[in-house]
Symmetry: D2
Subunit: 469 residues, 4 copies
C-alpha cells in the first residue's frame, strides 16, 4: 500500500529514512521513497502532473527537525576546519547591497578564521557541491539521481541576519530549497516572457524594477521546502533576527527534449547520408546565386524548388532517426555526471570494495573469493551500469568508479564482447532480483565466470552472500 | 547566339579562350564559357542532366594541342627548379608494382636532381595544388569555381612509360582528367554498391579482384578528356611507349544536400529551442529505463509514446529551419576555400591592387585617388564577396585576400553596419553592371563614399576608369 | 646532556618519541632528535663524519617493536580500503623472477581484492609516497626534512615470502631502509666505478653478473635499519619463511654542490654581463674558422689567445657570484618540495588553522581574535618560511599551504614590502623564541599589526596563547 | 696586392662588385671584399681596431650612386605591388610627433594604395628583413654574414620630408646606416653610462631630455655611410626638402663573449659533475640556516667555509670547460640564423640546384649525373656546413636548405657516420680548393662516392665541372 508506505516514511527523520531505504532492494524504489520524503506531504503524482516545470510550491511543515542530519552550520564549520576548501572552487563569498551584487573570494584555502570574518561582516557563503565533503549529502543525491534520471546537484547557502547574498535571477535547473536552520524571506516571480519559460541558460542579475510583482512571498523556516522550476525569478533575504542555512537540491540541467533532439538529428543525418543517396547528391551548381540571406527577398522559382527539396529531406529524417542510440549518447553523459553509489554495510561486504580479503597476522586472509556458477549476483544499483552501442562495438558504461568530485574521473566503460552482451542485458533486466552466475546466457561456464569476475572487479555487481575463499 | 559562341570558343587555344573571356563582363558567364571549352564538344545542358554525378564520359578530340598552355612537363621542371617544392607537401612520389602501392617521399625540398631520378626509376609524380606555382592553373581554377559554386582544385600526375602510380580506388570528388602530354590507358568501374554511389569519403586502395569489370576502357591521348563522378573506381596505366602527363580538375567535395542539411538542422534545432517551449520541456523522469539500446526489444507503451513525441518534434523542425542562414554558413566555408581572382590588366588598373599610386622620381605620384559620387564601381567577381548574417551582426565575407595556397589565410570578413547593408546588397545585385557611388542607397554622400572606399581598399570592387588623383 | 637525551630517546617507542618532541620548542632540534632515534644507537656525529655518503651501515636492534607505529601492513590494507589508491600513481605491482624485472600495474583504482591477489601470486607491492595516506609517515618526514635541509621522501615495500620484487640497481638518493615487519635478506655492493660514486641519476636494472660481490650481506629483521648512500647497488629478497614490510626513507636527491653551482654560475654570468663590459664585447669576427670541434687539432696561435680569454673570463666569474641569491633559488625549490608541518594540538589552538572562531548555537563565536602589540608570535617551524630576493622585490616563501601530495600546490609566496623586510627577518632570526608584535622593527604600530595578521592568516606564525576575541 | 684590390673594388658600382666577387673562389675573401666596399674608403684593419664596438663613424662620399642597385623606393613600390607584404610582419608604419612615438599598422596586406597614403600623411615606413623580397639584399647579406661570423640582418626605412619616424633610442646590434636616396639629419649620442656600453638589450624610447648632447651631428646624403656600435643612442630626421631612404645593415646581436660563456659554463659544469666527485658530494645539512639573503649579514665561520668551497669549485671549472664544443653550440645557432647562399650561374650549373637533369622533348635528359672518384668537389661556401659534436654523435649542420625568411625552416643537419668524419673534415679544411672524390680519406671507393653523393644532394658541395651522365 503506497499511501501507507508514504505515511510511514513521512514521519521519519532522515536517519530513519536512510535505514528504511536500506531494506528496499530496488534502488529506483529507494529513489522514489527518498523523493517522497523530501516533498511530503505533497503527493508525488500530482506534483509531477501539476507543479513540476510549471509553478513554484511552498511546503510549510512547522517541524524544524524534519531535515535534520542532512547538513548544518556545524558541519560547515567542520569542513572548513578539516577539508581543503578553496575559495572560488568550493566556496564563494558574496554580497548584495543597495542593488549591487559582488563576489569577494580571496585566493587560496578557506580557513574558518577568514570565512567567519566575512560572515560576520555581512557576507553570504555558498558552498559548492557539498557532496564532496558531506557523506550524507553524497548519499542523498546519489539516491535521488535515479529518481530524476538526470544529475542531482546541490549548493549550500549560509546568510547572516538582515542580509541578502544574491540579486534576483533565474536558474537553468529545477530547484528544491530545503531550509535547514533559521529562516529566510523568499519572493518568487513568474518568467518574464514566453521565451524565458523553462530557459536553456541561467539569467544575469536583474534589477528589482525588471521583475514585476512576486507570485509567492513567504518566510521559509527550518523544516520547510520551496520548489520552483527553471525560469522562475527568485530572491531570498534574511530577516533581521535570524541567520539562514539552506541547501538547494537541483536537477534537470540540459535535460530537455531539445537536448536529446540534438543527438537524434545529428545521428539521423549521419545515417541518412549513409543510406539514402538523395542526401549524397550534389547541390545545384548555382544555388549560391539565389539562396542565402542576401537573396532572401528575391522572387525566384528556384528558391521554391530548393526550399521544397530541403523540406523533403527534413521529412525523411525521422525515418533514419536512431532514437535508442541517441538516448544512449545522452545516457553516457548522465552516467559520467552521476555520483558513485554509497554502499550499505551489506553491500560493502558483498562487493569488491569490501571483499573479505585482508591482511591479518602477517598474511593475506580469505584470499581470492571464489565466484562459482551457484553465486548469486545483482547490479549494485539499477542505474550503475548501462549497455551502450558505439557504432560497431558495445560498451558497458558504469558509475562505480566515478568520484564525489564532479567529472574528476574520465567516463568509465569497458568493451563487452559480442558473446557477453546477452548475459549483461539479462543481468540488467533481472534487477532487482539476484540471478545465479550459472543462469547467465553465455556459451560456456568459463565465460559465465569470467564475465561475473570482471563485473565484480569493476564494482558493478555484488553477491547475495559474502564470497567464501 | 550561344551555339555560335560555343563553337567559337571550342576551336580556340587556351590562350585565345582566356583573352576572349577578358571581354566578358560577368564572371559567371566567363566561368560557364571556360567550362564549355573544357568539355567541348559535349554540350553543357545534357552533360549536367545525363552525365554529371551519374556516369563517366570520355571525349576524344584527336587534337593534341587542345589543352596546350594549361600545364606541361617543362613547367613541372621549371617549378622544381625555381620554387620551394617540398616532398609530402607539394609533391608525392608513388609507385604501384605487383599490386603494391607505395609512397616514397624523402624529407625536404624536391629538387629536379632527386625528382627526375625517382621518375627514371619508374615512380609516378603527383604535384599537389599546382595552382600555387602555375599562374595559368590558378587562373583557370579561379574562373571555374564560379561555375561549380564549390571549390575547384587540381593535381598534376606525371607517369613514366609502362608504369602505374596508383592502385584502383575511388575519390570523393567529381573528376575531370585532362590529358596534357603522352597517353594513358584508363579503366573505370561502377561503384561497387548502392552505398558507394556518390560517396562521402574516398576509398582505400582496392585489389584488382575487388572491382569487377571496367565499364570504360580507353586510351587517353593529349587533348582528350575523361570525366567520372565520385564513387567510380578508376586506374590509369602508361603504355610501354609513352609517358603521360595529366591534370585532374576536381570539385564538389562535401557539397551535397546532406552537407548543407547539417547546417540546416543544427540551426533549426537551435531556433526551435528558442521559440518553442515543447523543445525546452524536460524529458520523462524514467525514460532511461525503457529507452536506449538495452531496452530496444522491450514491449512498453511508454516507448511508443516517447518515439511518437520525438517524431512530432522532428516534424516541427522544418518550421524553424533557417535555410538562407544555413546556406550562408556553407557559403562562408566556400568563400574561404576560394582562390583569389586573377585580375586582367584592366581590372588591375582600376582596383586597389593596381591603383595608380606609385613611387616615381623621389615622390609618391597620383596619390589618394578620389572616389566621388560619379565614380562607377562594380564587384571584381560575382562571387568575390557575400553578405552573411551571423546572428545579430551582418558581415561581408570576401575572397580577394585569400592566398593561392589553400587556407593559408584565415577567413576574411568585415562587419557591415546596418546603414550600409542595403547599399552592399544593391551593389551585389547590380553585378555585372557598374553603378555610380552616388546611386548607393545610403543616408548621406559621406556614407556612400566611405563605403566605396572601404570596399575599394579591401580589393572587393574596381572602378570603370582608373581613378584620378 | 646530549648523551642522556639520546639514551632517553632511544628506548622510547615512536609514539613516546613524538610526544617528547612536542615539548621541544625548536623544530630543528626536534628534527635532530628524530633522526638520532632512527639511527640509534649509532651516534650522529660519527655517522655524518664516517658513514653518510661514504658507505652502508647495518643496525641490528633485536627489538622488533622499535619502529612500531610508523607503518604496518594493516595500515596498508586500511589505505587500500578507504583511500583512492591508483595503480601506477600510488602503487606499483612488481616482480623479479629468473633475472627478469616486470611492472604489472592494471589501470584504475587499487582495491584490496585485486592487490592482495597480486601479492598472493608472488608480486611485490610498492606504495609510493605513503605520507599522502598515513599521518604518521607525514609527521615523521615533515620533521626529518628540517634535519636534512632537503626533501625527505618515502616508499613502502611489501614482499611475499621467498620472492624478490626488484632487480639489483642503485638510486640517486641516500636511503634509510627501516624494517617494519618480517625479514629480508639484503646484499649491498660497492659502486662499480669512480664515475658511479654519488651518482646524479639512478641506474638501470643490472644483471647479477654486472655487480661483483656484495660488501654487506645481512638479514634485516623488524626493528633493524640499513643505510646506504646513493650509488651503492642493492637487492633485497625475502626468505622462504617470512614476508617483509619496510619503509625506505630517502633524502638528498639533487642536493649536491654541483646542483647549487648551476644556480651560482648562471647568476654569476648574468651579473658579470651587467657589470663587466669585457663580457659584453663581441667575439672575434673569425673565431668560427679556428675554434670548434672541427678545428680542435689545428695549431693556430689564435686558438691559444681565444682559450686564454675564456679562461680569464672564467676566473673573473667568482667575483660576480651571488652565492646567497643562488642559495635562495635552491631554497625556494626546497620549500616547494617540503611537506606542510603537522601541528600539535597546542600549535593548532594558537594558529589560524585552529583559531578559536567557530559556529556554535546559530552564530559565530569568538570572532575576529585580536592581535595586539602584546601578542607573542613565533614561526610555526624554523624552516616554514624564508625571505628570498627575486631581483628587485623580496618575497616570503612558505610551506604551510603545501599539500601532502608532492607538488600538488604551486609554490607559495607573498611579496614583502620594503618597510616589512626587517621585521620578517627579525622574526625569522628570533626563532625559536616568541617575540611580541610590538617589538617588530616596523615604522608604526599599524604596520606591526598588519604584518602579524598577514603572517597569521597565511599560517606561518602562531601565538603564545590562543587569541582572545 | 690588397691595397690595389681595395682600390679596384672601391670605384666600382655594386653590380660590378658582385661580378668581381664571382671570380673569387673563397667565400670568406668575397665577404671581406664586400665589407671593404661598404666602408670604403675607411680601411678595414683600423676600422676594426679603433672604431668597431667603440664609436660612430661617418663616411661622406659625395657620390650619390655609390650604393645604387642595393635597394630603392621603386623596388619598395614593386614589392608592395607584387609580393604579399603584411602589416606588422613585413612592414611597420610609424610616426614620432611632438615627442610621441606611435605604430599605426592596420591589419592585413600592405598594398601601395594604403601604404603610400600613410606616407603622404607623414608616416615613416620600415620594411623588415627586405632580403625576403629583394634578391640583391639577400645576396649582399649572405655574403656579409661570413665576414661577421654572426647573422647579418637589415631593415629599410623610408621617411617623408620634414618628419621623423622613431624616438631616440639605442639598439643591441652594430649598425651600418647606408643612405640610398635623399638625405637625413642624424644625431648620435654616447651611451648614458658604463652599464649601457655594448648593451645586451635594446633601449626603450627616450625623451630628448634623457640623452644629452650629440657627439655626431651630420646630414647623410645618398652614397654616404654612418656606422655606430650598439648602445649609442641615435635619431634621424628628414630635412624639409627631401625624403630619405636608407637600409640599416646589422650584425653581432647576442654575439658577445658572455653569450658564448653561457654555453661554456653550462657545459663545463655538466662535465665537472660527471668527472669530479667533489661536485657530486652533498651540500652541508645545515647550509640553509646560515646561507641565503636572510643570513647574509650573519657573522658565522660556516659562511666563510661555504663561500670558500664555492670558490674552489668555480676555480676548477675552467679545467672542465669544453670550449670547442661550446663554440659548436654557438655555431649551430649561427648556421640556423644564416641566409642560404645565392649561387652564381657557375655554381648553379655545378650543384644539385642546377644539376643538368631536366625534362626535354618528353623525357628526362642527362639523368643521374655520375659522381666518380675523378670528380672534383668543394663546399659551396666556407661556412655553409660545419661538423659539430653532439655528445656521442657527430652531425653536419648546413645552411643550404635555410629559407630567406628568418627561421622559417628548422635547423638542418645530418648525422655523419664515424667512418665519414675524417673525410668531411678533410673537405672542409681543403676549402677553397677542389679535391677529387678519390682523395677523400674513407675506407673504400664506395664510401667516398656515397659520401660525395650525399653532400651533393644536400646542396652542400658543388663540382668543378658540370656533371656528365
Amino acid at each position: 500500500d503506497v499511501k501507507k508506505a508514504e505515511k510511514c516514511v513521512s514521519i521519519e527523520s532522515l536517519d530513519a529514512v536512510l535505514v528504511d531505504l536500506g531494506s528496499i532492494s530496488n534502488s529506483r524504489e529507494r529513489a522514489a521513497k527518498m523523493f517522497k520524503w523530501i516533498i511530503h506531504p505533497v503527493p508525488e503524482a500530482p506534483f509531477f502532473r501539476d507543479t513540476w516545470e510549471k509553478k513554484p510550491i511552498y511546503v510549510r511543515r512547522r517541524n524544524p527537525d524534519y531535515y535534520k542530519g542532512l547538513f548544518s552550520t556545524a558541519e560547515f564549520d567542520r569542513i572548513l576546519r578539516e577539508e581543503n576548501v578553496q575559495f572560488g572552487v568550493n566556496l564563494d563569498v558574496t554580497s548584495y547591497t543597495n542593488g549591487k551584487r559582488e563576489t569577494l573570494n580571496p585566493p587560496g584555502r578557506a580557513l574558518p578564521f577568514t570565512v567567519w570574518d566575512f560572515y560576520e561582516s555581512g557576507c553570504s557563503l555558498r558552498m559548492l557541491n557539498p557532496q564532496a565533503f558531506s557523506s550524507t549529502v553524497w548519499n542523498v543525491l546519489s539516491i535521488l539521481q535515479e529518481q530524476f534520471g538526470s544529475m542531482a546537484g546541490a549548493n549550500v547557502y549560509l546568510t547572516p541576519p538582515g542580509t541578502q547574498g544574491f540579486a534576483p535571477h533565474y536558474d537553468d535547473i529545477e530547484a528544491f530549497v530545503v531550509q535547514l536552520e533559521g529562516k529566510k524571506h523568499w519572493r518568487v516571480y513568474n518568467p518574464r516572457s514566453e521565451e524565458e519559460v523553462l530557459p536553456v541558460f541561467s539569467s544575469p542579475n536583474f534589477d528589482q524594477s525588471d521583475i514585476g510583482k512576486p507570485i509567492l512571498d513567504v518566510v521559509l523556516e527550518a523544516g520547510d521546502l520551496l520548489y520552483f522550476p527553471r525560469g522562475f525569478i527568485h530572491q531570498g533575504r534574511c530577516l533581521p533576527d535570524a541567520h539562514s542555512l539552506h541547501i538547494t537540491i537541483s536537477s534537470f540541467q540540459k535535460n530537455s527534449w531539445g537536448d536529446l533532439m540534438q543527438k537524434v538529428v545529428t545521428a539521423a543525418l549521419e545515417i541518412a547520408m549513409e543510406e539514402d543517396v538523395e542526401f549524397r547528391k550534389g547541390l545545384p551548381l548555382d544555388y549560391l546565386t539565389y539562396m542565402g540571406v542576401q537573396n532572401s527577398d528575391k522572387k525566384d522559382p528556384r528558391r521554391e524548388k530548393f526550399l521544397s527539396q530541403i523540406e523533403n529531406l527534413m521529412k525523411k529524417l525521422p525515418d533514419y532517426a536512431p532514437v535508442d542510440a541517441a538516448v544512449d549518447q545522452k545516457a553516457k553523459d548522465f552516467l559520467h555526471d552521476c555520483l558513485p553509489p554509497v554502499l550499505t554495510p551489506d553491500e560493502l561486504a558483498t562487493s569488491v570494495q569490501g571483499a573479505p580479503v585482508r591482511w591479518e597476522d602477517g598474511r593475506v586472509k580469505a584470499m581470492a573469493p571464489h565466484i562459482t556458477t551457484q553465486t548469486q549476483i545483482k547490479l549494485l544499483r539499477a542505474g550503475c551500469a548501462r549497455l551502450c552501442s558505439d557504432g560497431d562495438a558495445v560498451h558497458l558504461y558504469y558509475t562505480t568508479d566515478n568520484s564525489r568530485v564532479y567529472h574528476k574521473e574520465e567516463p568509465k566503460s569497458c568493451e563487452v564482447q559480442a558473446e557477453h552482451t546477452d548475459a549483461v542485458e539479462f543481468l540488467i533486466h533481472s534487477y532487482p532480483s539476484f540471478v545465479t552466475v550459472g543462469s547467465l546466457p553465455c556459451d560456456s561456464t568459463q565465460d559465465r565466470i569470467a564475465l561475473a569476475e570482471l563485473l565484480f572487479e569493476k564494482g558493478i555487481i555484488h553477491t547475495a552472500e559474502p564470497l567464501q575463499s
